[in-house]
């Protein structure tokens, strides 16, 4: 009962904020709605006792990715996007993409062996209940580093390559800029900077 209330409350929040995210004009507000939507999905994951995924969603997406997103949006100062700029032109493509995404998700999750069919027959609370002492983090770690270790490592390598590529594509060294070198600054000794000269005392004449 309580779980059903929480589920419907937060799934409504997730869907409504996702809709608001794409319909709001102000890009900063859109980003905030996306954050809200992430939060609501994290809570739904918590209901499934997938605490690791829920916390990591908040930690990575809300705490890091969206902060950088907001950074860009705030710095660009796009204020308000012009009314319906090319909306009708791109509408059919958008619908097509949405349909492809929906059916590919349905194709994966609608299968019997993915375990999603249990929700049709059982209430949410019993479908995901686990034995005492079950640790979601530990189970995920075991799976990732045993059964799926190659896929996991390949994904990690892909991400690393993407990071290196992104940095090397955007980084440009301008020849005339001057930088401070903190290593040199920190290692400076007063002997290098100041010369103390002993001047013999002269008698006043």
């Amino acid at each position: 009962m309580t779980e059903a209330i929480i589920f419907y409350l937060f799934s409504t929040v997730a869907v409504v904020s996702a809709l608001m995210m794409i319909s709001v004009r102000n890009p900063v507000r859109a980003a905030f709605y996306l954050v809200l939507s992430f939060f609501a999905s994290a809570i739904i994951w918590l209901l499934l006792q997938a605490e690791f995924l829920a916390i990591v969603l908040v930690l990575v997406y809300v705490g890091a990715v969206m902060v950088l997103f907001l950074f860009v949006v705030m710095m660009l100062d796009l204020n308000i996007v012009e009314k319906e700029s090319g909306f009708t032109r791109y509408f059919p493509i958008g619908i097509m993409l949405a349909a492809i995404t929906f059916f590919s998700i349905y194709y994966v999750l609608g299968q019997k062996e993915s375990g999603m069919d249990v929700f049709q027959s059982q209430p949410l609370s019993t479908a995901a209940s686990h034995v005492e002492g079950y640790s979601n983090t530990k189970e995920l770690g075991k799976l990732l580093y045993s059964e799926y270790v190659y896929a996991f490592e390949i994904a990690a390598m892909l991400l690393l390559v993407a990071i290196v590529a992104a940095i090397s594509l955007t980084y440009r060294r301008r020849p005339k800029t001057r930088h401070q070198n903190p290593d040199l600054q920190v290692s400076a000794r007063h002997e290098d900077r100041i010369r103390i000269v002993k001047i013999p005392v002269e008698e006043r004449k």
């Binding site: 705490g63 902060v67 705030m74 979601n136």
Partner: protein
């Protein structure tokens, strides 16, 4: 105590009873915490005063003991000014987000083996997530204030917080490798057996990185560029007044206490006594200093808090590019190297820490 509460509320339906008891527990945790925050501000002014050969506040009440109360009353009765063309909802939401996340993180902090509000399996991750959400208070405050100074400061502060979170996260990876648990209670119990068994020794570089990152995360001196008075007046909360301002203040101090508490739980053995297992002490009349108690945890946290204040009184402010360099080019490599070292120590089962 808890039994009394259960019997008092037994006439209520079960779900309502659970909610009431959780609320009471939260109040029991938060009231001392907020008092601690209030008196931390007093301690800060007094201690820095003594360090600078001044007396500090001494007018309100005996020896100035009522100073924090007077401050609170003053701030509560001040008007909250909302700037023109500011986004009112977000402007008022920002302090709430700051204090909300700062206090929510306390839910998983254990005070001794039994005393914890929520004994969550992934407690360490939960705390990381909560502190990373706290950055939204800063960003939203800066953006919703409709002010250039606040905006610049919010960008600066949030870049700093996000950068140091990475080093902090890596330091925590070291802790969880050593303790093989994400539960804070289990981490402390993994350190039992006297001062030699604490994670401070094998994880010393991580402790240093964690604590300094904690100082940077809370925007405290010497990393307080978010409120660099000389450049951007008062930082992201320049447009806030009265209680709205003081809520940011409360959040900062609650976070300071949280960082000190976590550092003592993860590296300094938490509520365990440093004299555990020494027979001479156990057999004498001083046996109580050899036993684990909440007093040890509070004493360790208080010492780390003193370090926070000491840093503020001693170090000059870092330059912004040097802060970023320290975070990215010094701390992150140190933590990565040390995680590798921990792996090797695990492999060779070195010391009492890695022989499981």
């Amino acid at each position: 105590m808890l039994d009394l509460l259960y019997s008092l509320t037994s006439f209520l339906p079960e779900s309502l009873q659970t909610i009431i008891i959780i609320l009471v527990k939260i109040a029991v945790l938060l009231i001392p915490l907020l008092l601690g925050v209030a008196y931390l501000t007093y301690a800060e002014r007094k201690i820095i005063g003594y360090m600078q050969v001044r007396i500090g506040p001494n007018r309100v009440g005996p020896r100035g003991w009522l100073q924090p109360i007077a401050d609170a009353v003053k701030l509560m009765f001040k008007e909250i000014v909302i700037p023109n063309f500011a986004n009112k909802f977000l402007f008022l939401l920002a302090p709430v987000l700051s204090i909300g996340t700062a206090l929510a993180a306390w839910a998983v902090v254990p005070f001794n083996a039994e005393l914890v509000l929520a004994d969550v399996n992934a407690g360490l991750l939960y705390i990381l997530a909560m502190t990373s959400v706290g950055v939204y208070g800063v960003i939203i405050a800066g953006w919703a204030s409709n002010s250039k100074y606040a905006m610049l400061s919010a960008l600066r502060a949030s870049a700093q917080i996000v950068s140091y979170e990475i080093a902090m996260g890596f330091a925590l990876v070291g802790v969880l490798m050593a303790s093989r648990s994400l539960n804070l209670g289990d981490i402390v119990i993994g350190q039992s057996g006297g001062i030699y068994h604490w994670y401070l020794l094998p994880l010393f570089p991580l402790f240093v990185v964690y604590f300094i990152s904690g100082v940077a995360e809370t925007n405290r001196a010497p990393f307080d560029v978010a409120e660099g008075e000389s450049e951007i007046v008062a930082g992201f909360h320049v447009e806030y007044s009265g209680m709205a301002f003081s809520i940011f203040f409360l959040a900062e101090y609650a976070n300071m206490i949280l960082i000190s508490m976590l550092a003592s739980l993860m590296f300094l053995g938490g509520w365990l006594s440093p004299f555990e297992g020494i027979e001479i002490i156990q057999n004498s009349s001083l046996a109580f200093i050899g036993t684990a108690s909440i007093g040890w945890l509070l004493a360790k946290a208080a010492f780390l808090l003193l370090l926070f204040l000491w840093f503020r009184a001693t170090f000059p402010r870092y330059r912004y590019d040097q802060i970023m360099r320290l975070g990215w080019k010094v701390f992150i490599p140190i933590t990565i190297v040390w995680i590798f070292v921990i792996g090797l120590m695990y492999y060779w089962q070195i010391g009492p820490w890695f022989t499981h």
